[in-house]
């Protein structure tokens, strides 16, 4: 478990909300977007998470603590939002991931080229992975966290995280090889 001890008085860290917003908005928004696959929802989530940080600013002990807290809360909020979205979609008889797959199919048919198009398509494929695998991959490759750090953030055992990373990466690669012509050509 990561601990965030209080620093001695002379080195006391003073949180500056505006600076924290400036520094972390992009991280929070990106995590939320990649987890939900919905830009508008991600924007809403990012706003909620940052305002919650403002309410909890007094509890923050260090800059690292803030970063850890933001990642953890964003992942939980995104997970809750996905659950709500799935429930809503189920009540309407639609599937969230079918929706994303359809969107991916449209992108494949479009005339995107080069590294940018490959990145965009990889990102689309990432959105079709199971939630836990997607979470592990996003924290690993977007946030550059180690499996141990991901385990603490997600409150999961390290072994589970490692397995999610391996499976997610494998599944993503299989899907990429099967569907992304640019990727196959690039190898």
């Amino acid at each position: 478990m990561i601990e965030f001890p209080n620093r001695p008085k002379h080195a006391e860290w003073q949180p500056d909300f505006e600076a924290l917003v400036e520094e972390h908005t992009s991280m929070v928004f990106s995590l939320a977007w990649r987890m939900t696959g919905d830009r508008e929802l991600a924007e809403e989530l990012a706003q909620d998470v940052l305002l919650e940080l403002d309410r909890n600013l007094g509890k923050m002990k260090t800059a690292e603590h803030v970063r850890f807290w933001l990642r953890q809360v964003t992942m939980h909020r995104a997970s809750d939002a996905l659950r709500r979205k799935r429930t809503h979609a189920a009540s309407l008889g639609t599937d969230v991931w079918e929706e994303l797959n359809e969107r991916h199919g449209l992108m494949e048919a479009s005339s995107l080229n080069g590294e940018t198009s490959l990145s965009a398509r990889l990102e689309e494929l990432l959105a079709t992975l199971p939630e836990s695998q997607r979470a592990a991959l996003v924290l690993r490759y977007q946030e550059d966290l180690t499996p141990e750090e991901i385990a603490v953030t997600m409150k999961s055992p390290v072994a589970t995280v490692k397995s999610q990373l391996q499976r997610g990466l494998k599944l993503l690669r299989i899907r990429a090889e099967r569907t992304l012509k640019e990727y196959v050509r690039g190898l």
Partner: protein, 126 residues
């Protein structure tokens, strides 16, 4: 098939995986935050702080009013008690005065009676 030939596909596989991880890392770099998101967050945080400050100010005013009301109420009760005590003291004093007058009257009557008894005795002695 020698060892090198056997190891080649595994090495290729590893290289491909490393390359795939690199591409994935490039693909999922952080997005720029949407324009206006930061300013919206700051505006809402400011509004919340002001509302909280306003609520605090209102609570302070209510507390001060309650304190003043309690002080005035306390003073009124104290004043009323003081008046009541004063009236009671006056009644007691009046009662004391009446009692003293009654005693004096009784003494006067007794004195008169004794005087008459003395006169009567003196007449009998003659």
């Amino acid at each position: 098939m020698d060892f090198e030939e056997q190891a080649r596909p595994a090495k290729n596989e590893e290289r491909e995986l490393v390359e795939f991880e690199r591409r994935l890392q490039v693909a999922i770099r952080r997005h720029e935050a949407p324009l206006g998101l930061k300013s919206r967050v700051m505006a809402q945080a400011r509004a919340r702080r002001q509302a909280r400050h306003g609520r605090g100010w209102m609570l302070q005013r209510i507390a001060a009013s309650a304190l003043l009301a309690a002080l005035f109420g306390g003073f009124a009760v104290y004043h009323e008690n003081l008046e009541h005590e004063k009236q009671e003291r006056q009644i007691e004093r009046r009662k004391g005065e009446q009692a003293a007058e009654q005693v004096m009257t009784a003494l006067r009557i007794t004195s008169k009676t004794l005087g008459k008894v003395n006169e009567h005795l003196a007449e009998n002695a003659k």
